[in-house]
Amino acid sequence: MAVRTYLQAISDGLREEMRSDERVFVMGEDVGAFGGAFKVTDGLLEEFGAARVRDTPIAEAGIVGTAVGAALAGLRPVCEMQFGDFVACGFDQLVNVAGKMHYRLGLAVPLTVRLPVGGGFSGGPFHSQNPEAWFMHAPGLKVVAPSTPADAKGLLAAAIRDPNPVIFLEHKHLYRRVKGEVPEAALPTPMTARIARPGEDLSVFAYGAMVHTALEAVSELEADVEVVDLRSLVPLDEEAILASVRKTSKALVLDEANATCAAGAQVAALIADRAFEDLDGPVRRLATPDVPIPFSPPLEQAVLPGTTRVKEAIRELLDY
């Protein structure tokens, strides 16, 4: 096992899938010689050539839509949005074309869309968004959100090999900040939740960057808190969520996305419906309020959930 950053792990995963399956190719703005805005595709052009590492025009509907066509023709496109925010420009092709194709017509659309998402570095309202809930609310799309290098690589392999359109959320703030052991072999990670830290007294549910926020918060507390890394949002590992709540009887659901109708709302609603009898307290949520992500550091810090607020919420709920 080698120690890799989150970003390197995504790069590795992409390279290995391209090596082992010649149907796999990448496309996006500046992904070729430039290696992508975040350098995830750096070096791929040299190894695989311009036919499989395709610079595209600035056309997000074009990127998603042509990828659907290529997928129907038997290829396995991996699209990069330069920032996850721009997926709004390819939204219709994703939700109406890619997502409904199999249900309507029995045609599989094996397609991966990589979305660099998330805030925390003064990206402002158009370079910090977490759009996953839109796609969770669009039938036919899978949505995964790794938090560790190993899962980033493994879930990317799983996404690329999946016969369905998969939205792959990669959190920009983890790219170079998070390092970890990553298996050399290209093992796909199952689209299930993972216990990031076991505990008995309270469960924190999170995904992506918020897993680290949760772990950091818990590490600063004297309490036996479980942290569940959801990893996959569609499919959502409902059994793992319910099992954790059954054990701890208390749930805090974390989200970096805007609060209303977020992934966390779905998780909380699930718990309230199906684990009600196991609950010893309210299902607490912590998320970014419903505001565009502001640019200025003190404002951004004020809206994104941070360890201080997570600790407070955990303490309050433990005392409940």
Binding site: G65, G69, A70, L105, K142
Partner: protein, 356 residues
């Protein structure tokens, strides 16, 4: 407009001609029956037809090889499905929302596809499927396959951004795709003059897209334009935008009486009915086409009779199939019927290829 007559003479056999007429008759017969079934309450939702535009989808699809997909026929383009060889009975079952192999009741109207014959069903958002067709063409180019994709859209659909992204993308990469613009002069109630200031065909060259305008009520002209576009695509000369000038003879859908359309215009175009014109032309040419309409009627009647016995889908299946659970083995789009006599002639010249 270019002269298509001479080229048609070179390319089409008499069998082709009878076939073209037959498919147009079939399209009309299916849609007439469809409208009747809708009015009888046997087709739920709504019903859309392409009356008066049969030459467009039939003529263009006739030019495709078995491996060239249509992605996608739109609501006026039933002929593309028929030419490719989708089963009539299944089509009627689909229309009526009964259990069927095309959509299993999940879709209605002309929103079906038949992957077995290489037809990808449309989505309603216009003209999203142009982009998908461009992606098919991109894949063929990447794999150096001698195939091209055909996509249909209306004059109205040209106003949307996806039209542009597809045109630009295909022109940039010189992709083997045929963009067939069906200029029926209306988008629902909106005349083309309220859709664009200048005919989109004028923009084609400035996208790096070859362009041609044809009489969309002349099935041979449409065939020739599509044939030539396909040749160009396969030769690596990039995409073609074909503008087929035609007219929508019915309302937008069965619910629409189209009272906003000038009756004079309808009469004018009725005189140019693609089926009447072509029947007369073939008769003049000495071909006996008298029995075709009856044949076709019988075929439709039989298909409907069987379809009417099909059960409705099992409600318990309603939530199945949102996701694909096993990876498709190889390419999902099969080979459709190969209608143009030229393919058979080529195959005879190349016996080994024919065997493959």
């Amino acid at each position: 407009m270019e002269s298509f007559d001479r080229r048609a003479g070179e390319l089409l056999s008499d069998d082709d001609r009878v076939g073209l007429l037959r498919q147009m008759l079939l399209m009309r017969a299916v849609e007439e029956r469809g409208n009747a079934l809708y009015k009888q309450g046997k087709i739920p939702g709504s019903f859309y037809d392409g009356r008066g535009q049969e030459a467009v989808s039939v003529g263009a699809t006739w030019a495709l090889s078995g491996a060239d997909p249509v992605c996608s026929p739109l609501i006026r383009d039933l002929g593309a499905h028929l030419v490719k060889g989708t089963d009539l009975t299944q089509i009627f079952q689909h229309y009526m929302g009964r259990e069927n192999a095309l959509s299993h009741g999940r879709e209605g109207n002309v929103h079906f596809g038949d992957k077995g014959v290489g037809v990808v069903g449309m989505v309603s958002m216009l003209p999203d499927m142009m982009v998908v067709a461009t992606g098919l063409a991109m894949a063929y180019r990447m794999r150096a396959e001698q195939r091209c994709a055909l996509t249909f859209f209306g004059d109205g659909a040209t106003s949307r951004g996806d039209w542009h992204e597809a045109m630009n993308w295909a022109g940039l990469d010189r992709l083997p795709v045929i963009f067939l613009m069906e200029c029926n002069q209306l988008a629902y109630s909106t005349p083309s003059a309220r859709q664009f200031a200048r005919d989109p065909i004028e923009r084609a060259a400035a996208y790096g897209v070859h362009a041609t305008t044809v009489d969309g009520n002349d099935v041979e002209a449409v065939f020739v334009a599509a044939h030539d576009a396909r040749e160009r695509a396969l030769a690596g000369d990039g995409p073609t935008l074909i503008e087929a000038q035609t007219f929508r003879m019915h309302g937008h859908g069965a619910h629409d009486d189209a009272r906003y359309v000038d009756p004079g215009l309808i009469a004018e175009w009725a005189a140019r009915d693609p089926i009447d014109r072509y029947s007369a032309r073939l008769t003049e040419r000495g071909l006996d086409v008298t029995g075709l309409a009856e044949d076709v009627a019988a075929e439709v009647a039989e298909a409907v009779a069987v379809a009417l016995t099909a059960p409705m889908p099992d409600p318990a299946t309603a939530t199945e199939g949102v996701f694909c659970t096993s990876a498709p083995a190889g390419e999902q789009l099969g080979r459709g019927a190969e209608r143009w006599s030229g393919f058979a002639a080529m195959a005879q010249r190349l016996p080994s290829a024919a065997a493959a």
